[in-house]
């Protein structure tokens, strides 16, 4: 069951990712990206990382994508300009070259050591567990994140100011 789900979601994620870069209409790309993000969220769910699943849907597929689509609409690209974004011969060539390289790299690496052997820690991605560790053992990184966000906000304000 899980492995079937994994394969379906993976294929969807990869296919939609390819669509994201190959569509010449930015809106189509953005929608493909949304699909990709949702598929990845599904992968999180199969790993029983429920909290991450929800966050992925809410923040990325929801908020971030809305923002992306806003920006695209504000840019209001012309038909001609859109064409330039689509797939072209050289781009396909370079992309496939990169893909071949990555596959070759992975194959070469795997053949040397006989496959990957990651440690699989027992993960409990439930909201309760995440809340627990965020406010105990990860309280420090959590606070650092808040400073980071604050710094980013200040930075955006500075860049966005009309005049000094």
């Amino acid at each position: 069951m899980e492995s079937v789900l994994f394969w379906i979601l993976s294929v969807v994620a990869v296919a939609s990712a390819v669509l994201t870069v190959s569509r010449s209409n930015p809106l189509a790309s953005a929608l493909s990206l949304t699909v990709c993000l949702v598929a990845v969220a599904g992968l999180f769910a199969t790993l029983s990382a429920h909290f991450l699943f929800i966050i992925q849907l809410l923040v990325y597929a929801g908020a971030v994508m809305v923002l992306v689509i806003y920006v695209i609409m504000l840019l209001n690209l012309k038909e001609r300009e859109m064409k330039a974004l689509g797939l072209s011969g050289p781009r396909v060539f370079v992309s496939s070259l990169v893909a071949v390289f990555v596959v070759a790299l992975l194959a070469r690496a795997q053949s040397g050591s006989g496959g990957f052997d990651p440690v699989s820690p027992v993960l409990d991605g439930s909201a309760r567990r995440v809340a627990e560790i965020i406010f105990t053992s990860y309280v420090y990184p959590f606070e650092v994140v808040s400073i980071l966000l604050l710094a980013a906000v200040v930075g955006v304000v500075v860049l966005g100011m009309k005049k000094f």
């Binding site: 390289f101 790299l105 070469r108 690496a109 040397g112």
Partner: protein, 656 residues
Amino acid sequence: MTVETSLLWIVLLPLLGAAVNGITAAAAARWGKKVPHGFSGAVAVAGPTLAFLLAVGVFRALQGMEEGHALVVNELFRWIDAGRFRADVTLLADPLSAVMLLVVTGIGGLIHYYSIGYMSHDEGHTRYFAYLNLFLFFMLMLILGDSLLTLFVGWEGVGLCSYLLIGFWFEDTEKAQAGMKAFVVNRIGDFGLLLGMLLIITTLSAGGEGTLVVREIAHRLGEFPPGVLEAVGLLLFAGAVGKSAQIPLYIWLPDAMAGPTPVSALIHAATMVTAGVYMIARMGFLYDHAPLASGVVLVVGAATALFAAIIGIAQNDIKKVLAYSTVSQLGYMMIGVGVGAYAAGIFHVFTHAFFKACLFLGAGSVIHAMHHEQDIRKMGGLLKKMPLTGWTFLVATLAIAGFPPLSGFFSKDEILWKAFSGENAALPWAPRFAWLLGTIAALLTAFYMFRLFFTAFLGKPRGKAVEAHESSPFFTVPLVILALGAALTGFLGVPSVVGGSNRFEHWLAPVFETSHGGGEAIGAAHAGGHGVEIGLMAGAVVIALLGTLLAYFLYVKRKEVPGRIAERHPALYTLVRDKFYVYEAVFAAVIYPVVSLSRRLLWRIVDVRIVDGIVNLAGHLSRGVSYTLRFVQTGQVQTYAFILFTALGIFLWKVL
């Protein structure tokens, strides 16, 4: 205050003075104000004076110590600690450095005081005093440092101050060039010194930690193979040849007279130029086992003594005469240390400091009174116009000419006697040869010094001398003190043969007893030579008299004779007047080939073709690189990212 602390303060006080005057000068220049003359003078004099008092304290303390263990050591700080090479800065006073200490602070103090008067009309006096104090600081570092490294720092430091002071009136191109010349010539010598130091470190590192501490080197002398000892000795001597103005590098010293006269007195007569002699005496234990190097020191010293004396005969610039006489006297000192009579060499350093400083300051007083006229042919009759200057000048002249019982007689005679009775294993003929040249030079010394005295101070006043009058007490007080010193210091080293006790040699004996007993042992070897020694002494007096009479005859009685000689032997006269064309010869032999080599080979081929070629190649290469990059780049972020990921891919391929 303990003796150790006072040692530190001796060094620090002049530095403090230099700092105060330097900052004042900079501040004054910044805000366009003038520094009151008295202020910078007072600051400048305070340092050396206090240092002198402290030096006397150190001297007394050393006297109170047990003989052979008279040492004051102040370990200041670890200078460099970089693993395998370590260097500490340690101040050390032993009888030898104590003597130098008294000379430098004492005479240095007098000359600072004198400078107040001499520089009274100069705009840049604050800067001048800052340099002068800085010089004193480096000179004291040179003397008191316990290792060759601190000595080298002082050595370069005094050099730096010397160039700054020679070129003090740098608005004058010729004077700035004299500073440049001193700098370049000294570099040649310093290069040898540096190589010698490196050779010491390399040799000693073979058997333990490389060190430049003099006592350590003395202790581990056995680790040097004999050949290396000779090489070290010769290389160090190369440094001394530059700094102490020996043949062939003496050419910078006469030009150095472009600086203010007190500077000539302090740096280019009494102290800095004797640093080479001091260094060789300090390394005496090494030269004792390097007969060839000592022989070379001896021969070069003797040749310099005679050669400079000959040139001195035909000079007409009062300061040039004194400059060549300094070179000649430095030659005597080299004879002393070259024959292993370090005490005698240092004794001459000591007495020479008095009479030569006195002569220079007297010359300065004259020049000041004559409104910067330096040609002795345009002076005359100054003894009446400036009695104090004249009489002190006479005393110093008698001293340098070697009339008993003035100081120069004892020290010069001691050196000549040690040369006469000395031996050298590598060059057996050298000691007697040096004695012969030294004796002839003594005759010439008396001659040219009295020529100077008679021409400038006797006869009828000529030119500006008519209106000349005695200088202020700033000039005369140091003159009188120095003249007294020139007259009396000889009694510190009266040899036993005439009933003296030679306290000077006894005082220094512990320092040199690691060597073969200094002069004492040689003297003992020639115990039967008492009669000879007295005979030589008498001969020296006769020679001095002879030279004086000759000068009297030529320049007072029959003034037309020198002109006639010059007329009859014009080639000879020009040869001597133009200093045997040594500068031209050195120029032709060394500087010109180097310059033309550098111009033709190095510049045309190596530099233009090869170095420039490489640089151009690098330039082309980098331009080529940037062209290649520009093909995909023009500052586009996409390209940057592309390169980033390509590189990452290649590296990952390599890594995995």
